[in-house]
Subunit: 174 residues, 4 copies
Amino acid sequence: MSRRPVIAIIGSGSASEPALSNTHELGRLIAENGWVLITGGRDAGVMNAANEGAKAAKDSLTIGILPNRQTNASPFVDVAIITDAGEGRNNMIVLSADVVIACGVDDAGTASEVALAIKNEKYVILLGANDEARAFFRRVSETGVTTVESAKDAIAVAASLLDGRPRVQISSHE
Amino acid sequence: MSRRPVIAIIGSGSASEPALSNTHELGRLIAENGWVLITGGRDAGVMNAANEGAKAAKDSLTIGILPNRQTNASPFVDVAIITDAGEGRNNMIVLSADVVIACGVDDAGTASEVALAIKNEKYVILLGANDEARAFFRRVSETGVTTVESAKDAIAVAASLLDGRPRVQISSHE
Amino acid sequence: MSRRPVIAIIGSGSASEPALSNTHELGRLIAENGWVLITGGRDAGVMNAANEGAKAAKDSLTIGILPNRQTNASPFVDVAIITDAGEGRNNMIVLSADVVIACGVDDAGTASEVALAIKNEKYVILLGANDEARAFFRRVSETGVTTVESAKDAIAVAASLLDGRPRVQISSHE
Amino acid sequence: MSRRPVIAIIGSGSASEPALSNTHELGRLIAENGWVLITGGRDAGVMNAANEGAKAAKDSLTIGILPNRQTNASPFVDVAIITDAGEGRNNMIVLSADVVIACGVDDAGTASEVALAIKNEKYVILLGANDEARAFFRRVSETGVTTVESAKDAIAVAASLLDGRPRVQISSHE
């Protein structure tokens, strides 16, 4: 029995457009590929948009890794894992994923998740990241992170990483 | 959208018969009820038997909460959550479940899970527990734990708890 | 440079007499022996009494391992470690200690700590434990836990364990 | 009884000169101010240098927050807290400190700690940080991080923060 690939979408709980639309599309595409979606699970921002997008697809599976039992889970999360680990849960989100996709790196929480993903030697894709984030994470990652500008490109890179193909550098930005 | 109930099965990684057969049946019945199964996720003992049982049912969903990335996951786990929290994950297993069922309380790890479930005010069902475990956990639990002798009875109690019905004391043992 | 031994005192946040007096004496004796005291750090019950006892001794050092930043620390804790791990911190308290002493095992939180200490193969001393706790933990521990009835006896056992001497079974109770 | 201030020093386990000399001086100055030093506790890089510096001062107190029991603690750590939380311990290091000082932000682990410190609204001082780190963390921090170029300046800023004085922007760098 082979396990379905798991993709983490991370990003701010107070994200706005166009990040939310991008994220919604990304969640849907992940589910349409038959991959499991994992997020921080909260009923806010990127987390909620990603799960809502995924649940628009048939046979989707969405897992939310929540900080504690007081936090409201997104209604689009199928299974809520209550860690009682506060921000320590960020490490669990990225450790449980085969590929980590950040939809914007505009807040400190997401920054910690990208950093922990790199530290744990996970594949990291930055979607629509600001210039400072690109420059910084390129510097602290030995193998490099991939930067993309659209949900479709993020999915293409994720697919190639899951296949074990050489990492495609889609972004022409740098 | 209402979330499927989540049932945790806990027990020893080195359990033997008849605990393993009981657990296999329990996992199957949980899945047949449409409930999500959550366990410690390891490829051993009660954890593996529960997940194997669940995967024998259609549309089953099994989540394993693993201590770290070095641990082998049961092949019957659909999604493996890597906590990197060691035994600290025991708290997450019980916090994420609506009902916790212990298949035997014969080792210290399971004992910690039962205790944490009570501490977190979760419903706890002891299946086939030894006399010392029954006596001790009855003492430290204010609302009482339910003790049963068969997988079928455990399921009946779980169903009534999930329905919000008064807790049925099935066991005639005490 | 050799590190000072670390002793954990665990017990209920709502303990009453005579447990509190026992714990106060135990904390003082630990500090007088030059050992570091580690507890769950809260401003309540056994945790507070142990730290208050320790600070009555010269050159004492008390470390509190707190569940989160909202919890009030005992004023007798020298250093407060904020884990943001909820009850998951129980695992850290016992892992960080050379010897774990439970002052009563009357609530589920303490029960989880005793169980995790055994699981992590730590020396465990039960001071003034109820009969059900003695019977249960004797059963789930392969190497046995030591039961005592006074703070002085707990210290004598701890000293022999730290010296690597064969574990003394002081209690005539069983 | 008022608790001694706690300062966290974070940085790479594989740091080299001049970061190590800076860190050693910083550890010594922290201890000479009567503050408690908290680090990731490993016997490597910034962690070891900071603790060695602190122990050169009288009445110093050094606490190491270690990822698990397999990790070697620095011999200059007075008390080793074993979290069994892997990289999840990074959150605990910064949560337990009044002020967090990063000696270089050259690896992903340190980046995660700086990000978590900002997320938890802790005071953060970057000592000798690279340009990309300065630019990125200035962007994701609402209240700003302070950047300095010497251990002495880091201490001066920390002292003013602990006094509740307005944050001094010592660095002329930006």
